[in-house]
């Protein structure tokens, strides 16, 4: 039963990711005084791309066509580790948060290789920028996550969330720092403004888009879907770790229903905040990203220090 729920939850994760992207787009459009496309537009785009014949460069190796499948699978596996509707997951027990970060790194590694594979200037440029940014983002993310896991004394996400739920509403300075650190990292890792602009057509400014510039058809669909999934993953991490209330602790259908409504509401709210932030700021100069991510790291570090000094000594 547990495993069935875990698989169903993973499938739900994958199925809902484009909807979140559609909602985010809707919010941004409304904030810019525009009419918005339908919430289902990302699904239509994915179907359209899947039905198109992919065009692959003559210079591409096997890596280029294998990478989209690897990227999508790794991101999907990462999604199964994160509790979405219900806390207690067998998948969470078998793979902890560090494995999740590992899945991300695995996907990124192949994305960067695919960017280099076809040998265009833009692919290489994108890969190099992605690596620069991720080498700064990953430590910051781990620092934020370690703060949490030290509080809960486990790196298992189910355990951590259950711990926060049991403690009730306690304002921990360490969590506030970790939350902001994780938000900053999430924005950088999912290629949102002000770090990257997912909607740009300017090759020279791209990071994520530069790596996938040569992709088309179903390969592009898989990569797009994987990025939507990644965005949702970060959203769920932030929502369920820091504000876990509403998540189901049992497997009875009523609680599961509440859990689903709760996470949808939390994600919708998060997307609104993200849309507002993206509307208010312009993209940073590329060399400001280091400062930005160093700040995220600093916040993570402060979170951990305040945990050790203020909380762990009790």
């Amino acid at each position: 039963m547990n495993w069935l729920i875990a698989i169903l939850q993973g499938a739900l994760f994958i199925a809902l990711a484009p909807l979140l992207a559609g909602w985010l787009k809707y919010c941004k459009c409304r904030l810019q005084n525009r009419k918005a496309p339908s919430l289902l537009q990302p699904y239509r785009d994915l179907i359209k791309l899947s039905n198109k014949k992919p065009v692959v460069s003559d210079h591409a190796s096997w890596l280029f066509i294998t990478a989209p499948y690897l990227i999508f699978s790794a991101t999907a596996l990462a999604a199964t580790v994160v509790p979405l509707v219900v806390v207690d997951l067998p998948t969470s027990a078998s793979a902890d948060v560090i494995v999740m970060v590992g899945f991300f790194a695995f996907a990124r590694f192949f994305l960067a290789l695919a960017g280099l594979d076809i040998g265009t200037a833009f692919g290489g440029m994108g890969s190099s920028r992605e690596m620069t940014i991720s080498s700064l983002a990953e430590p910051a993310m781990l620092m934020a996550i370690f703060t949490l896991t030290m509080t809960a004394s486990t790196t298992n996400l189910s355990g951590a969330i259950a711990h926060v739920l049991n403690e009730g509403l306690v304002l921990r300075p360490s969590f506030v720092f970790a939350l902001f650190a994780l938000i900053l990292v999430a924005v950088a890792e999912t290629g949102r403004i002000p770090v990257d602009n997912p909607a740009t057509h300017l090759e020279l400014t791209m990071i994520h888009e530069a790596m996938i510039l040569e992709y088309s058809g179903r390969y592009l669909a898989l990569i797009e879907w994987a990025s939507q999934l990644k965005l949702m993953l970060y959203g769920v991490l932030i929502a369920n770790i820091f504000f876990p209330w509403g998540i189901s602790e049992t497997l009875n259908p009523k609680d599961l229903g509440y859990g689903l409504v709760a996470i949808l509401g939390k994600l919708a709210l998060l997307a609104i905040f993200l849309a507002i932030a993206e509307t208010l700021v312009a993209k940073m100069r590329l060399f400001r990203v280091q400062e930005y991510l160093s700040f995220a790291y600093l916040l993570g570090l402060l979170g951990m220090l305040s945990h050790i000094i203020l909380e762990a000594s009790r």
Partner: protein, 528 residues
């Protein structure tokens, strides 16, 4: 303040240097003089000109009988002269002016490619307009080259252009374009970069060469005006006006005052529409989409009023030789006035939001710096020049009707960065709104079209107006029977593109798009 007797001083100086000059007026209407000199003095005179701080404006050649006429236009204090020399077609050679005036560089290369004239001492005599569409020794603008050309089935790719190379650890090349990820005009940019830092940028243009100069030959005045309106779609009013002004000079006719006012309204409306679009696009390039959406909306409303008043969104083909084709009715005056007050109000709400956004400020200030010295050396025009303290505006300094009857302020900034080019545009919108208001108020009843008179064979004109990108000069020579013998429109982009190469230096690669957008040169206007 602006003395006009520099020409006599300069002539005296040339006399002292033993350079003989024959001066005559270019035509009966304009104040422009043509100075005939020996071809051997071509470079020497440019050295004296640069000492006198003359600005190099434009250069073009003509094929007349067995000779090439080579022209170079200079300006100082709003007064223009056309330097002219003749060379033989058998062994066409001329000392280059590009070593003295960097602005002449690409223009001379264009002449070299189109006429086969060799410029001796040119600092960079690689081909420019010439891609692979013509054989090695065919020169399309010579009279013996047919308009149809000698096209091959498929033009071979232009892949062996000798770009500047750099060597050393960590230096790499980034080729960009001519096909881009977005929908823009085709142009190739070759970056040499270390990491993200740009060491050098080289532009390779010419992908939208349409043979404007060649297909202009033999046209009627009306037909040339239509062609001029299609040199660069965003400057249709500017180019049509400049071409018509040149033809009217040659035909020795003056346009009615009402037609001049209508032309003024058209040109200012075009300027505002383009500036609004550019300001939005600059913000969009740093992912500040909110501003772009607002400016796009304002521009769209503005263009819709164009339809109401003139019947065309981009105002094409309304200026015709001798005046204007459509009048401004009493109803239209109301529409225009309402437009002005609405745009003023909307801008007063949007601009503070942009001004106060620190993330935008961080991107636009200090980036893409063009020093006033470099701007002056390249003769940079329009808002690019005026953002780098180049205080020149043909509307004020070489005033032509209707600008000679109005008061307005020329926008000026001196920081030379992207923000300056952004704010200069805003200031220009403000003064354009005031100008339109004055023109509308001055509208008096009268004709809007003067009857055309067939110009004498060989008569010529040089139309100079301030388009929205900057000064446009348009040269026209007539044949017998009212036909065009030579047409050379000089879009401000031809002068401003090299400035982009300079202002990009020492920026980082991802900042190039916004640098480019802040200059917004026309590819089509450059390639002709």
């Amino acid at each position: 303040m602006r003395s006009s007797n520099w020409t006599s001083d300069f002539l005296n100086q040339l006399n002292k240097a033993n350079i003989s000059v024959v001066t005559s007026p270019l035509n009966q209407i304009s104040k422009i003089e043509q100075w005939q000199i020996q071809s051997s003095h071509w470079n020497e005179i440019s050295q004296l000109a640069v000492e006198q701080q003359l600005r190099w404006v434009s250069g073009w050649a003509e094929h007349i009988d067995k000779q090439f006429f080579v022209n170079a236009c200079f300006e100082k204090a709003g007064l223009y002269i056309v330097l002219r020399t003749q060379i033989n077609t058998d062994n066409p050679e001329l000392p280059s002016q590009a070593s003295v005036y960097p602005a002449a560089n690409r223009s001379e290369r264009h002449t070299q490619d189109m006429f086969g004239i060799r410029f001796i001492g040119h600092p960079d005599n690689r081909r420019w307009t010439r891609h692979q569409a013509w054989g090695k020794h065919s020169y399309p603008l010579r009279k013996d080259f047919s308009v149809d050309g000698e096209p091959e089935a498929i033009t071979p790719a232009d892949k062996d252009y000798p770009f500047i190379k750099a060597q050393g650890a960590g230096v790499y090349e980034i080729p960009v374009g001519p096909v881009h990820a977005g929908i823009i005009e085709p142009g190739h940019f070759r970056f040499l970069a270390v990491g993200e830092l740009i060491l050098n940028l080289e532009e390779r243009l010419g992908y939208v060469h349409k043979g404007i100069e060649k297909i202009a030959e033999g046209r009627s005045p009306e037909s040339l005006a239509r062609l001029a309106g299609r040199i660069s779609g965003d400057t249709t009013v500017g180019h049509t006006w400049a071409a018509c002004m040149a033809m009217e000079q040659a035909a020795n006719i003056e346009i009615p005052p009402r037609a001049a006012l209508i032309r003024g309204v058209l040109a200012e409306r075009e300027r505002i529409a383009n500036h609004l679009g550019d300001m939005g696009a600059i913000c969009n390039d740093v992912a500040f989409v909110f501003a772009q959406m607002q400016f796009t909306r304002l521009r769209e409303n503005w263009l819709r009023s164009n339809v109401l008043v003139f019947g065309h969104r981009l105002l094409m083909d309304i200026i015709v030789p001798g005046g204007a084709k459509s009048d401004i009715s009493a109803d239209s005056v109301v529409v225009i006035k309402k437009d002005i007050s609405r745009l003023k109000k909307e801008l007063s709400e949007i601009m503070p939001i942009i001004d106060l956004n620190s993330s935008l400020e961080d991107r636009l200030y200090t980036a893409g710096y063009l020093s006033p010295e470099t701007a002056a050396a390249f003769g940079t025009l329009g808002y690019v020049g005026r953002a780098s303290d180049q205080d020149y505006d043909a509307r004020r300094d070489a005033a032509y009707p209707p600008y000679d009857q109005v008061e307005f302020k020329v926008a000026l900034e001196n920081q030379g960065d992207i923000a300056s080019r952004f704010w200069v545009r805003y200031k220009e919108i403000q003064s354009s709104l005031k100008l339109i208001d004055q023109f509308i108020n001055q509208l008096t009843d009268g004709e809007i079209l003067t009857a055309w008179q067939i110009p004498k064979p060989n008569s010529e004109g040089l139309g100079i107006i301030e388009g929205w990108r900057g000064e446009i000069t348009s040269f026209v020579r007539f044949d017998a029977e009212n036909k065009i013998a030579r047409f050379y429109p000089r879009d401000p982009s031809i002068i401003n593109w090299p400035a982009l190469e300079k202002l990009t230096l020492n920026n980082i690669v991802p900042d190039f798009p916004v640098c480019n957008k802040s200059v917004n040169g026309s590819y089509s206007g450059n390639d002709l």
